[in-house]
Point group: C2
Amino acid sequence: MPTSPADSPRSRSGALTADKVIDAAVALTVERGLDNWTLRQLAAAIGAYPAVVYHHVGDRDAVVCAVLDRVVGQLELPDDRLGWQEWFSALLAALREVLRKHPGTARRMAAFGPSVEAAAPTLDRGVRILLDAGFGEESPLAYTLLTATACQFVALEDDRNCSPALRLNNTEEYAGYRQRDDLPGMAAQGRAMHRLLTDPEQAAGYHAKLFDAAVGRCLEGLACRLAQLQSS
Amino acid sequence: MPTSPADSPRSRSGALTADKVIDAAVALTVERGLDNWTLRQLAAAIGAYPAVVYHHVGDRDAVVCAVLDRVVGQLELPDDRLGWQEWFSALLAALREVLRKHPGTARRMAAFGPSVEAAAPTLDRGVRILLDAGFGEESPLAYTLLTATACQFVALEDDRNCSPALRLNNTEEYAGYRQRDDLPGMAAQGRAMHRLLTDPEQAAGYHAKLFDAAVGRCLEGLACRLAQLQSS
DNA sequence: ACCTGAACACCGTTCAAGT
DNA sequence: ACCTGAACACCGTTCAAGT
């Protein structure tokens, strides 16, 4: 009886509300990831029928949007007095942490963001900091670039952690090329993959390093662009 | 009779092979996107039962991997004599074009890439160019950064084109903030969104511009990094 | 070896009916 | 207004049976 909410944990915790449905959805997302629970499972988790999720929140997409807003709500903004590069460095590091706790949310966040209301505080502050730094009309673009880059590299990490088998296979295959002197590019890649396979410490930090490199290069690239803007 | 392959186009085009299954999968991907056809629809398109797709290729994921390899097979490498920045600029522009023709492939490509065999020619050449430019041990990381950034910004474009309604809503809502002097960051964002809504030419080129900015800032950031590496 | 046809265990979503 | 319980039209995958 998979649909039966019979003996589930709603015995007497008060009436069912939209908020409680979303609480449960956030919990499932933390546990298994945004794409790894079904609406039926969410309903079962609160001891209800699927139709009551529809009644209180809406379809699956509506639940997902609500989860996204909860996630950005946990984000704390860095100190105002930091320089623009340091401010974004800190913001995006905090963003990574929050997104990583809720696997699968980074992808949606990159493509569609949270609701405008939920995005507003961060967006206003971030764009203002770029305006003050001198990016002028390009400030919204720069803000989008930085946040999209951060979200997408977290999304990549989420995706890879979801199917680690596939990833390991590839890594081993690449490592096999590490002494192919006829293919020096593949050999360099192979050595890097081999290091990843033999040094567990490096493997654990790989995605953090990739994230830092992506955000770091984006910030440096923007600093170049700022210099161009100001010299003209 | 949704599963019936009855009068479908396999009358007399020769025996069914893995290659023909994959041809059909590529065609469906070009038409509707990688995530918008089902294995049952693929089977129907070649006038066969779902089980024959399993027999010749494997499960849905196996078909998807085969499609990815076909897609990267279409990629042509830029002229060797270009500088590293120009070479990658050209490569990633060509990559965007190929990926855009096959919606949905960019996301998979970013996270898992094609098979090692299909990736090898591009990867070897690309990493070699970075080695020659002076990136040393960081060449594989730089290569990953560039290709992942490119794939992911195409993926973002794919995702947004898939549900244009959601995107338009957000854009209009942001545009509503364009005269909020109390929120200068949101106002700047609002003006940018308003421009997008009123100038169709700008709207059409938005994602190309975002892609160019992402790749451009990544290349500039790497140039900074290269200068750091060489001065030490 | 290859294809048939049906089955299994799921989905998201809808809806009449109850209270 | 809120919940029940069943139904609808799908999925991907598996499998015994045919040829």
